[in-house]
Structures are given as structure tokens and as C-alpha cells.
């Protein structure tokens, strides 16, 4: 670790990315102790900031980040005071990633666990192939969101773009606004008490005050799980 990483026990560790490389930052974070606090300043849209963390640390990024911020996150909390590029928190296993602005495409792609919160909009393919993560988006999501989504929950407080949940497996989708269109094998499903309860928990975890009763639920019709020639038009 270079001397440019400023360690102040009270405020935590401050890393100025205009002075320190992302590689130096990540190496330090990969060795960080549980409970430590890190502040990253002047991120300047750099890629792979806080990627591959595997400890219960908190990283606060003061500005915009590029691709794959918090990629494959485990245990850590990463907060971005800005917008995030492609593949935010991709393949996250656990922990919490919170972007105060908007996220580019493929936010939360293939993520297995933890919670991803995007306060504003998320672009296309939000939650693509999600495998157990919870994602809460305060604004809209783009087309093909939750494509081939396997498990987990996606909550959209705004509108969803075309082909929501195309080829979805067992993930559960909640949308408050308008859905432009549903993808293959994705259908609207009744909202029961258990769904209102889990939605309330997810919204609370994201720090949101939306009313669960205002959301509609979508999921798999399970008609395409096994190939059948009569479904050829759907493929």
C-alpha cells in the first residue's frame, strides 16, 4: 500500500484515485479487516472499483464509477454517490451495494445474493440471469431486464422496458409502474399476502417508502421449461 492512502483511524481510510491506482486500492481492500471503513475520492469513472471484496468492510465512493464496480462482491457494503457503469455488482454473492444515482446496463447480472439498490434508473438487462440477489430500483429499468432470471427478487418502483423477464425461471419480479411488454414465458401473477410482506421487507431494506399494494407481480409461466415442438413459435 502506498503512502497516498490516508489512514485516519477515526474517519477510516481515504483513498484518492487521482493519486492511487485502482489496483492498489483493490489490493488494499482485499486485505482489509472486517469492520473497516474506506472512502474513495475522485473515482473519475474508473473500472472495477472495489471488485472482488470478501470482507465486511464499508466502501463509500464519492463520485461516478465505471464498469464492474463491486463486481463479485462478498460481505462488503459499497455505496456510490454518483452513477455506475456497466455490470454494477455483477455476480455479487452477498453484502450490499447502493448506488445513489443511475446504473448502466446489466446491473446485478448473474448475482447470487446480497442486495443491490439503485436509487434512480437502471438501464437494459438489469438483473440478467440473476441467481438469488435482491435488486431494488427506485426508477425505471430498461429492456430485457430479468432475462433468464433464475432466482431472487427484482423490485422496480418505476416502469419496465420491453421483454421483461424473458425466458425467466424462478425469480420474482415486482413492478409499480408500466411494463412495456413481457418476454417469453413471463406472466403476471396474483399478489398474495406473502408477496406484500416480502415486498415490504425489500422496500424497507432499500430505504424506500413505496406502498407494496401499488405493485404488480410477474414470474414464470413455466411453459418452456422442457422443450416441446408445439412451443416452437415461442423460442
Amino acid at each position: 500500500m502506498g503512502t497516498l492512502i490516508d489512514q485516519n483511524p477515526a474517519a477510516g481510510v481515504t483513498v484518492d484515485l487521482a493519486e492511487v491506482s485502482v489496483t492498489e486500492l483493490n489490493r488494499a481492500l482485499h486485505r482489509a479487516a472486517d469492520g473497516s471503513n474506506w472512502v474513495v475520492t475522485r473515482p473519475q469513472g474508473a473500472h472495477a472499483i472495489a471488485a472482488g471484496l470478501d470482507a465486511a468492510v464499508t466502501v463509500t465512493v464519492e463520485g461516478h464509477v465505471g464498469y464492474y464496480c463491486a463486481g463479485m462482491n462478498q460481505l462488503a457494503t459499497v455505496v456510490v454517490h454518483g452513477n455506475a457503469g456497466v455490470g454494477l455488482a455483477e455476480n455479487m454473492m452477498s453484502g450490499r451495494v447502493h448506488v445513489k444515482g443511475s446504473a448502466s446496463q446489466s446491473a446485478g447480472a448473474t448475482a447470487h445474493g446480497g442486495i443491490l439498490v439503485v436509487d434512480a434508473d437502471a438501464a437494459a438487462r438489469c438483473g440478467i440471469s440473476m441467481k438469488g440477489v435482491d435488486i431494488v430500483v427506485g426508477g425505471n429499468v430498461g429492456h430485457m431486464s430479468a432475462f433468464m432470471a433464475q432466482a431472487g427478487r427484482l423490485v422496480v418502483c418505476g416502469d419496465a422496458g420491453d421483454a421483461l423477464g424473458d425466458s425467466i425461471y424462478e425469480a420474482r419480479l415486482y413492478v409499480k409502474g408500466r411494463v412495456a411488454s413481457l418476454g417469453a414465458d413471463c406472466v403476471e401473477k396474483p399478489v398474495r399476502e406473502e408477496h406484500l410482506l416480502e415486498l415490504a421487507e425489500l422496500l424497507a431494506a432499500a430505504g424506500r417508502a413505496d406502498n407494496p399494494a401499488d405493485f404488480r407481480r410477474y414470474g414464470s409461466a413455466r411453459q418452456l421449461y422442457n422443450f416441446h415442438v408445439d412451443n416452437a413459435d415461442a423460442y
Binding site: N26, A48, D54, Y68, V86, Q105, M148, E170, Y225, N226
Partner: protein
């Protein structure tokens, strides 16, 4: 009326266009509405390594003494950017094959065989199992579009990472694993319901194109602290451009898989009609490496129809740094064993023809998840057979290299080769044997 068993003796003529295999395929499609899905690689005859010959030493070349003079076989892969490159004792490696398509016993056997001779084995779709990590001294972790079972802990446990863009059997295609192989363990590893037909995406979910790939590779390096070699695997279709872009994207090594390369389950029409032969792909890939000044710095690992030490030597002479075997390795484990002929017949197949690797009923216990069938494969004995094959292939390649005067397998060079056919001469860019003619050369 004559009763000869051979229709030709009756003066009957089979159509070359509508031969019996074609007629059977049409009849099957008409009866079922289904296309054929199978395992293995292209079955059609394409120009291959058999169409090349080594010249051997002569008046102007000095051979090395067999069994006495050294002919080294070691290869280092991934030293371009990785702090911990891979050291292999033989350039013959084991190609990526998944737990799910293969039984746990088969994966263990691959690890045992490869480790015994000091080479690497490779995971596949669906993640890393304890069996293969535990029995593989050097394990390459495939990073696939589906990211089934993708776990950063496994990424860190791997010795190298292989970003898979495509496969020779199906460039541009995703994967599939039919419901009968989605057992509870496979389903859990892939976060899917038991028994469904599982599709693997054909495109990565979080990058699109070579500029993104460069950033993705940087992320993988950041996550693993720049220690692991990163390979890019491509199915042979446009190898010159793909290799150029892979080099630019920062690959340490490139895996180039020709159309003869096997698959666990793919549509027959895809296997036979998409992609180009291994022989045609290698020179284009080597051109890209040489033109960008990266030949030997970025290693080229070739797969797709590698069966013997002769194939190994020819691939290396054309410019590869190593090869991978998949189908040949499965045969070494026991696939298509004639001793199982009665059981193959019950499945409507025959030893030497069995390719229903997707069906999960493999009597050899290799391409199955059925616990009873899987148990038939003894991973220790099967691993020993694979080690034997790997040793034989390595020694065969050495025999040829010594005959060509080379003290290392990597010293084999295109000049050592000539072609037997016009097609092979054009593809491999070696002169037709006995001539100086290279079709298309200016």
C-alpha cells in the same frame, strides 16, 4: 428374385445426395418434429492433420537420437501478465468439460490422469466441483456466459481463468443440458429447478464486444490480484480477427477450438454446418499472433480433433504452443468401449457410434448423472488410462520432433510439413508434397 444382402449386387444405386443417413434424418424429423441433438464433434470428413506429413531430417537437416538425445516438452502458459503462470510438463492439456455433462467420477478421472503427467484440466459450465479441484494439480476455471455456479472463491482457487466466447462444435451457440441430466446436485449448483431442459446463454450478460472484454478481463485480474493467467476460448470461425481482438483485450493465452471439437449436447445441424476445421483455423490465428508481435508471448492452445502425438506435433509445427483433448480423453476413460456393445445396442447405437451424450444413459458411466451408471466408472483406473494416453501422445510427438532435429517440441516449425491434398495445402499453407506449390500463395 435375387436375395443378396447387398443392394448394390442387385444393381440398385444409392443416391449420394439422399443417402441412407439423410433419409433416416428426414424420416425422423417428419415423425417427431424434432431436430437431432447429440454429443461429439463434426462427423463429416474435413481436411485435417491426416492431410499433412512431416519431412524428417535429411542431408540438410540433422536428426536427434531417439531415446538418448533430449527433446523437451515443457510449456509455460500465461507469463504475459500473470504473476503466477502455469507450468506444464506436456503441451497436451484436457479441454473444458462440465460436471453435469460428465459424471463426478469422470471429472475426477480427468483430474487424476492430467495430474499424473503434469498437465492441466479444465472445468465447464456449472462451476467447480470438489472432485475436480481435489484431483487436479493444475485446474483452469471456465468463465462462461451462463455463469452457472460462478463463484469468486472458485475463481481464486483456480490456477488459470478461461473466458469462453465460443466452442468449435458451435461457434455462436450457447449450451444445453437436457432435463434427464439435471439431478438435484446439478440443479443446486446451477440454481435451477430439477429436471428442466437447461439452456446456457450464447452471449456474456455483462459485456458486448472486444472493448468491453478488455475491461472484463481487467476486472478478473483485479479480483484475483493479477496472479492468474487469463485465457480466451474461441470457436473457430474468424480466427484471424478473433485472435487479433483477443490479444488487444489482454489475453495471456488463446484457446482455439475447431469444428471437430466435441460438445456434450448440440443440434447436429449446428455441429456439422457452423465453424471451420481446426487445420484451416491455425494458420489464421498464427498470422494474427505474428503480425501483432505476440507469437509465443500469448500462447495458442489448439483443440478440435486431436487424437495422437502426430496431431500434437502438427498443431505445434503450425504454430500452436499447446493442444487440448476432449473426445480422445473420454475415449481413454472408456467411452465407446466395444465391451459394452450389447448395452449400446439396447440404446439403438453401437460401440464406435455412440454419441447420445446428451441423454444421460451412458453405459460407460461418463456422460451421465445416473448414480448407478456413474458408479461403473472407476476414477482411479480411468485416470490411469488417460495418463497412459497423454504419455503416448507426448512420446509420439517427441519421436517426430527428434526425427525433424528438434530438441524441444516447440521448435517444430511449418517448414517441417508438407500437404497431401490440395485443400490441406491451401488451408495449412504448406506445399503439396513433392512440389513447391502452395495454392493461393503469391
Amino acid at each position: 428374385m435375387p436375395t443378396s444382402a447387398d443392394p448394390a449386387q442387385l444393381g440398385l444405386r444409392e443416391s449420394a445426395t439422399f443417402d441412407r443417413t439423410t433419409i433416416a434424418a428426414i424420416r425422423n424429423a417428419a415423425a417427431t418434429g424434432l431436430y437431432d441433438i447429440r454429443g461429439g464433434g463434426a462427423k463429416r470428413k474435413v481436411p485435417h492433420f491426416d492431410d499433412l506429413l512431416f519431412l524428417g531430417a535429411s542431408m540438410s537437416r540433422y536428426p536427434l537420437e531417439g531415446y538418448r538425445e533430449r527433446c523437451d516438452t515443457d510449456v509455460v502458459i500465461g507469463a504475459r501478465h500473470a504473476a503466477k503462470p502455469i507450468h506444464l510438463k506436456t503441451p497436451v492439456t484436457i479441454a473444458g468439460m462440465s460436471f453435469g455433462s460428465l459424471s463426478a467420477q469422470a471429472k475426477e478421472a480427468l483430474g487424476r490422469g492430467a495430474s499424473e503427467v503434469g498437465t492441466s484440466t479444465t472445468t465447464g459450465d456449472g462451476g467447480m466441483t470438489e472432485e475436480e479441484r481435489g484431483h487436479s494439480k493444475t485446474l483452469v476455471y471456465q468463465y462462461l456466459p451462463s455463469r452457472y455456479g460462478m463463484n469468486p472463491n472458485h475463481l481464486r482457487m483456480a490456477d488459470a481463468i478461461e473466458v469462453v466466447l465460443g466452442q468449435g462444435a458451435k461457434p455462436g451457440g450457447g449450451g444445453m443440458l437436457l432435463g434427464q441430466k439435471i439431478t438435484e446436485r446439478v440443479a443446486e449448483m446451477r440454481t435451477l429447478p430439477v429436471g428442466i431442459d437447461q439452456r446456457s446463454a450464447c452471449r456474456h450478460p455483462d459485456w458486448t464486444g472486444p472493448d468491453d472484454l478488455r475491461i472484463k478481463i481487467t476486472e478478473l485480474r483485479e479480483i484475483t490480484d493479477w496472479e492468474k493467467p487469463i485465457y480466451i476460448k474461441i470457436g473457430a470461425s474468424r480466427p484471424y480477427y478473433d485472435v487479433m481482438l483477443a490479444i488487444k483485450a489482454g489475453a495471456d493465452a488463446i484457446v482455439l477450438d475447431g469444428m471437430q471439437g466435441g460438445t456434450a449436447a448440440t443440434q447436429d445441424v449446428f455441429i456439422e454446418h457452423v465453424g471451420i476445421p481446426t487445420l484451416a483455423a491455425i494458420p489464421q490465428a498464427v498470422d494474427a499472433l505474428q503480425e501483432s508481435g505476440a507469437h509465443r508471448e500469448v500462447q495458442l492452445i489448439v483443440s478440435g480433433g486431436i487424437r495422437s502425438g502426430a496431431d500434437v506435433a502438427k498443431a505445434l509445427a503450425l504454430g500452436a504452443d499447446a493442444v487440448s483433448i476432449g473426445t480422445a480423453a473420454l475415449i481413454a476413460l472408456g467411452d465407446n468401449d466395444p465391451a459394452l456393445e450389447d448395452e449400446y445396442r439396447k440404446l439403438g447405437s453401437s460401440a464406435g457410434y455412440y454419441d447420445d451424450w446428451q441423454a444421460g444413459r451412458d453405459p460407460a458411466g461418463i456422460t451421465t448423472q445416473d448414480p448407478q451408471l456413474s458408479r461403473r466408472l472407476d476414477p482411479i483406473a480411468a485416470g490411469r488410462r488417460l495418463a497412459n494416453l497423454l504419455r503416448v501422445m507426448t512420446m509420439e510427438a517427441q519421436i517426430i520432433a527428434r526425427a525433424c532435429g528438434k530438441a524441444h517440441l516447440l521448435n517444430l516449425e511449418p517448414e517441417d510439413l508438407v500437404a497431401l491434398t490440395v485443400e490441406a495445402a491451401a488451408m495449412a499453407r504448406r506445399p503439396l508434397a513433392g512440389t513447391t506449390w502452395i495454392p493461393g500463395a503469391v
